[in-house]
């Protein structure tokens, strides 16, 4: 029978089935400092061990300062959380890439970078953006801390089977339109709960033509549409990306892996529970105007007017969002003046993102009214960027070039927005207070963020050359 890629991976990982629950085997468990301390504590209290330390990797990302690594960590609670992870990893025999390790970085950047992330795997992490790894044709999803403990103790997870959704994007993207714009357009179309209960597979010409980085950007934000997981079939590009990385199979193992991975893509004629289609011609550079990732519009649009909205709940939500965002209905989005710009995060903090932003920034100066920050997704991305001279481009243009980490994506470290400040950000969430209490976030692509930093306001990247 014809099967979807999701079904193939799911079925290959069933340990047992009973009472509507499937016990799924987990191939790779990624751990970070914020969602793991209580899980390790649980193991200690019950006298349990980590079943497969060899399938578990930990890093520090959420809390880490992005100033020099030589400075002590000023916040004692952040430090305690990081120290706790170090001690836990030592006690339970888990590999840790700490602050001073050359492999440190955002957990969803380092997994692919190290070749830990491979097609066909089940991958979990106590972080909702684990869906990123689905870009390699794996089943990857975020879990809570109790589930982290469960996986540590058993290397399995009881799961109910999600439904499947195909999101197909046909055509060819126009100039200035990126993977970020595609996923924002998708979320705008189906809503922040449009894919709740589904494992999504992205298909179509647009997806196939994206680089691995672009595919990761798409899968990363699946969770913002509520999806349990987002995935993209592996192809030659995927194999090329994985090959030769530190944890990738080698020699005869590589051949065995390729044979297995090549059989993963969804069979011709396999049925999804739901199909959503978009066309590239309808996707412009996107920007979010509100306080949820579904509140997005093409950059050419105006701030929406609540009175135009029929549905009462939507209208109320829009009113609330405009008030929080300090916006007047019908203002052109390109007139919104900015205070900060953030380029980074697990959505857009990879080398290709930095290259794209640098290409825009080159030879320009950041507007006087803006503080613009570039935070590489990992130490390796940072080194690569510096080897290519991107850091010089950014610094000459007046951008603040930082160390790797999550940084202002969630503002748990000292990088934070002040109340009322408006920020163009390449991250994934524009919730109230996400980047600091009272802070106002507009989600955009790296190109759009760089252009916005220079103009001091949101701009349409397609008009950039003409300005």
């Amino acid at each position: 029978m014809a099967k979807t890629m999701f079904e193939k991976i799911w079925e290959a990982h069933v340990v047992r089935e009973a009472e509507g629950q499937t016990l799924l085997y987990i191939d790779l468990h990624l751990v970070h400092e914020v969602t793991s301390p209580q899980a390790f504590e649980g193991l200690r209290l019950t006298g349990r061990k980590v079943r497969r330390p060899d399938l578990t990797v930990a890093t520090m990302d959420h809390n880490v300062p992005t100033t020099s690594r030589l400075l002590p960590i000023a916040d004692p609670i952040s430090r305690l959380q990081m120290d706790t992870l170090s001690e836990n990893c030592k006690e339970f025999g888990v590999t840790l890439y700490d602050l001073h390790n050359k492999k440190q970085g955002i957990v969803h950047v380092i997994g692919p970078e190290q070749g830990l992330t491979q097609p066909g795997m089940t991958i979990v992490c106590g972080d909702s953006h684990t869906s990123t790894h689905g870009a390699f044709g794996s089943l990857a999803f975020g879990i809570g801390t109790s589930e982290v403990e469960h996986v540590l103790a058993t290397q399995t997870l009881p799961q109910t089977r999600p439904k499947t959704m195909e999101i197909r994007v046909d055509g060819q993207l126009g100039p200035g339109v990126t993977a970020k714009d595609v996923i924002l357009a998708i979320i705008g179309k189906i809503g922040t709960d449009g894919a709740t209960g589904y494992a999504v597979e992205y298909t179509g010409e647009v997806i196939r033509s994206l680089s691995m980085e672009g595919r990761m950007t798409i899968c990363n934000m699946s969770i913002e549409a509520g999806a349990r997981a987002g995935m993209i079939a592996p192809d030659a590009k995927t194999f090329e990306y994985v090959k030769g990385r530190p944890f990738a199979p080698q020699g005869a193992d590589w051949d065995a892996a390729i044979a297995e991975w090549s059989a993963l893509p969804t069979d011709e004629g396999a049925a999804f529970d739901t199909l959503v289609t978009l066309h590239a011609d309808d996707i412009a550079p996107y920007v979010s105007w509100g306080t949820s990732p579904g509140m997005v519009a093409p950059i050419t649009a105006n701030v929406p007017a609540p009175e135009d909205i029929e549905d009462e709940a939507d209208r109320k939500a829009t009113e609330r969002a405009l008030e929080y965002m300090g916006l007047t209905a019908r203002t052109p989005l390109t007139e919104l003046m900015l205070d900060k710009v953030f380029i980074g995060s697990c959505t857009n903090g990879r080398i290709e993102d930095l290259r794209a932003a640098a290409a825009v920034a080159k030879g320009h100066k950041v507007s006087d009214r803006v503080h613009a920050m570039v935070v590489p997704g990992s130490y390796i991305v940072k080194m690569q960027a510096e080897a290519e001279g991107l850091d010089v481009v950014f610094k000459e243009a007046g951008f603040d070039w930082r160390e790797a980490g999550c940084s202002m994506c969630l503002a748990m470290n000292p990088d934070i927005l002040q109340p009322g400040e408006r920020c163009a950000s390449t991250s994934n969430r524009n919730f109230e207070g996400r980047q600091g209490k009272g802070g106002r976030t507009h989600l955009v692509s790296p190109q759009m963020a760089a252009a916005a930093a220079i103009a001091g306001r949101l701009v349409d990247i397609r008009d950039w050359d003409k300005e």
Binding site: V15, R16, A18, E19, G20, Q21, L23, Y25, D27, V34, T35, P37, Q38, E41, R48, R51, P53, D54, L55, V57, N63, D75, S78, L80, Q81, Q118, S128, G142, I143, G144, T145, S146, E147, E149, H150, A153, T154, T156, P158, T160, T192, D193, T196, G226, P246, F247, A248, P249, Q250, A256, A257, S292, L410, A411, M412, P419, R429, F431, E432, K437
Partner: protein, 208 residues
């Protein structure tokens, strides 16, 4: 884990859609390494004024008639956003044992069950009616009975709700998931023995 059988309590209304986990428990409180003590930070930015201390009188749950509420009535897509289990920890620590909403984000929904909390899904229309009741009848209470999967109140309300049989069983008996899984340890070992050798130690460096 604490058992859940029957719950009678005050209903606290939170009439907003898409209440995300960043609102339920803002990130500055995620640095604790314990599971307890998160209730004081629940809905922090909504609940307190800018000084972080004074209760915001406009926030629904701060009104005196909802003090001590154990049932939270919320809008659709409750708990969307991050996977932080700190969200159900904060709700539980504040005093909520059950939530009623038209829909939830997946990870949040799962996380509730792991903490002895019962998230109930009811149709949007029904939630709206209950919202009106909770907003207009001071001290409005209801009873949630898990064994019979029913919700009742003193006005003669009677609603039934769905819950996955396995999760119900775990809640009723306060069962620890990990303990249950470990009863099937031999199945896990059998599975592991079948995995191709190139997958063992996927997280061990291939070459030093």
């Amino acid at each position: 884990m604490e058992k859940f059988t029957t719950l009678t309590g005050i209903v606290g209304p939170l009439d907003r859609a898409n209440a995300d986990t960043d609102q339920i428990i803002p990130k500055q409180f995620l640095k604790r390494i314990e599971r307890t003590g998160f209730g004081q930070f629940l809905f922090f930015d909504w609940r307190f004024l800018d000084d972080g201390k004074t209760e915001n009188p406009e926030f629904e749950l701060n009104q005196p008639q909802y003090k001590g509420a154990t049932i939270l009535l919320a809008g659709k897509n409750f708990g969307c956003g991050s996977s932080r289990e700190h969200a159900p920890w904060a709700l539980e620590d504040y005093g909520f044992r059950s939530i009623i909403a038209p829909s939830y984000a997946d990870i949040f929904y799962n996380n509730c069950f792991k903490n002895g909390m019962l998230p109930i899904v009811l149709p949007e229309e029904t939630v709206k009616e209950l919202m009106t009741k909770a907003q207009t009848e001071p001290g409005y209470q209801m009873t949630i009975d898990l064994p019979t999967q029913t919700i009742t109140d003193s006005d003669g309300l009677k609603l039934s709700f769905e819950v996955d049989a396995f999760r119900k069983h775990c809640l009723l008996n306060g069962l620890d998931d990990i303990g249950l899984t470990l009863q099937h340890e031999p199945d896990i070992t059998t599975y592991e023995n079948k995995r191709p050798s190139w997958k063992t130690g996927a997280a061990q460096p291939v070459a030093a």
